[in-house]
């Protein structure tokens, strides 16, 4: 039987104890490539995590009294579900009309996308990237490129701040991770940080939007 | 985590050959 090694936030331990299927691995769309990727839902707190895997050749694990080939290490980190919702909103946006969300977030290949509709404060989230209309008691949404770019700009700025505070090397030159210059931040230009942050965010948005963001 | 790949998943008497240290 294959064993998997995961690094998870500690509070997720409680999720699997509090309710049956408290933690669910689901396959959802990767908003950049459009292909499937693994995500983790915390059904208690209604939080979404992306799963990244550390993969290098020629590794194995000793796990208790067993050996497991591959040596893969999986990380579950919180991810903003709006990136995934954007995938469906941008597609529907081409139709140019306001639609109910349940009609937009539909996917034959990744039917678990409906779990995204269970997320808390969904309406608050959607306001960052859509125009909203209310008719009767129902809400209708239309993708807004202008609002999305403003939202993504905030993401880029947050990412720049995180890159600086974590001393990530964003310069074009090759530098050993063991080399600590006096002040990493002043050595790398602001433009380098923005370019790097844009690149990171682009791993979570469609190519066309990435190009628009770059121009923006 | 080992710096080599043992090409199998199976029981292994790790505690007989290894003494863990932190």
């Amino acid at each position: 039987v294959r064993q998997h090694v995961f690094l998870l936030p500690e509070h997720l331990k409680d999720a699997s104890k509090k309710m049956k299927s408290g933690l669910m691995f689901v396959k959802l769309v990767n908003p950049c490539s459009g292909e499937g990727a693994l995500y983790l839902f915390d059904m208690c707190l209604q939080q979404l995590f992306e799963i990244k895997v550390f993969k290098e050749k020629h590794h194995s694990w000793f796990i208790n009294q067993s050996v497991q080939s591959g040596g893969l290490l999986h990380f579950a980190t919180p991810v903003d579900p709006l990136f995934l919702l954007l995938h469906y909103l941008t597609k529907a946006g081409k139709e140019g009309k306001f639609q109910p969300l349940a009609q937009v977030v539909m996917d034959d290949i990744f039917p678990n996308c409906i779990l995204l509709l269970k997320l808390p404060e969904l309406e608050k989230l959607l306001r960052h990237v859509t125009e909203e209309k209310e008719i009767g008691n129902k809400k209708y949404y239309k993708y807004s490129k202008e609002k999305t770019l403003k939202w993504l700009e905030k993401k880029v700025n947050q990412t720049v701040a995180a890159l600086k505070s974590n001393n990530v090397n964003v310069g074009a030159r090759v530098q050993s991770a063991a080399f600590f210059p006096g002040d990493q931040v002043s050595n790398d230009k602001e433009e380098d940080y923005i370019r790097y942050a844009h690149g990171l965010i682009s791993d979570y948005i469609p190519r066309e939007l990435s190009d628009d963001l770059s121009k923006y | 985590l080992l710096p080599c790949e043992v090409l199998v998943n199976r029981p292994a008497p790790v505690e007989r050959f290894f003494t863990p240290a932190i």
Binding site: L38, L200 | P3, C4, E5, L7, A12, R16
Partner: protein, 300 residues
């Protein structure tokens, strides 16, 4: 022979020595070097030196030291005890090279073969005697490899000393015979009292002679091979006997520099400039993830 230090840690190299007799610091001395346990696939190899004043060589001979291989274990133990008893003119020192040290040296990425290990150990022991202020003027060594080259190397290392390297030196020079006895006695004791680090189940204490062509030793190796961990560290993994059994009985393991690893051929350089229909380039993750060996998981 107090081997408690070896019993505490039998994974590396262990040096043991007698006190230096006062007379050996005053008078010119002959020093002999010999080894025990080169051939076996099990247990340590021991290098020993024995030294005494030139004026007392006949006294050493009178102890009836001879080539240790011609003596029984009991006779060797007796002779060693006698050397210690009458030891106001005989000193000794030895290096116990564990099977683990032998294996890791011979199997390291930078190869350190058994001859080099032997030469360096012998030279190290001679140096030790000099550092202890033993007045060494003559050194006699049983050869490992070509005697001429070995002698030249040792002579260059110890220019003020007359160095003689000869085959069967243990039969020719009493100091070498005495060193031979020290080495053999130590090896026998180390093997008899070997503390297995591994918590082995059903350990069979009868492993035969320990030599690779001994059917009992081979059977013992086959019995004690573990498919993931191989052998206990009592075994010299670098011996072909051990390697053959591992190939047959143990699980396959690949390392970064495994020779059988398939390499991806380099692409044509034009592929970097033109879109070749059949060669789709997948989108690569951002540099942040690439540098850290991270990618999106698609399946468990």
């Amino acid at each position: 022979m107090d081997l408690s230090e070896l019993e505490r840690d039998n994974t590396g190299r262990c040096r043991l020595s007698s006190p230096v007799p006062a007379v050996c610091r005053k008078e010119p001395c002959a020093l002999g070097v010999d080894e025990a346990g080169r051939g076996p696939v099990l247990g340590p190899m021991v290098y020993a030196i024995c030294y005494c004043p030139l004026s007392r060589l006949t006294d050493l001979e009178a102890l009836k030291v001879a080539d240790s291989k011609t003596l029984s274990e009991k006779e060797r133990d007796r002779l060693f005890a006698k050397m210690e008893e009458d030891g106001d003119f005989v000193g000794w020192a030895l290096d116990v090279l564990s099977p683990n040290l032998i294996s890791t040296s011979m199997l390291g990425r930078v190869k350190y073969n058994l001859n080099s290990l032997s030469h360096d150990t012998a030279a190290g022991l001679i140096q030790y005697a000099l550092d202890q202020k033993v007045n060494v003027t003559q050194v006699f060594v049983d050869t490992v490899g070509m005697p001429e080259a070995y002698q030249a190397r040792l002579q260059q290392r110890f220019p003020g000393i007359e160095v003689t390297v000869k085959a069967k030196a243990d039969a020719l020079y009493p100091v070498v015979s005495a060193a031979s006895i020290c080495a053999k006695v130590t090896r026998d004791q180390a093997v008899k009292n070997w503390k297995f680090l591994e918590k082995l189940e059903d350990l069979d204490p009868d492993y035969g002679s320990g030599y690779p062509n001994d059917p009992k030793t081979k059977a013992w190796l086959r019995k004690h091979v573990e498919p993931v961990f191989g052998f206990p560290q009592f075994v010299r993994f670098s011996w072909s006997t051990a390697q053959t059994i591992l190939e047959e009985e143990a699980e396959d393991v690949t390392w970064e520099d495994s020779a059988t690893e398939e390499q991806e051929g380099p692409g044509r350089i034009t592929s970097y400039f033109f879109h070749e229909g059949a060669r789709a380039r997948p989108r690569v993750p951002h540099r942040y993830f690439q540098e850290r060996g991270l990618e999106a998981a698609t399946t468990l």
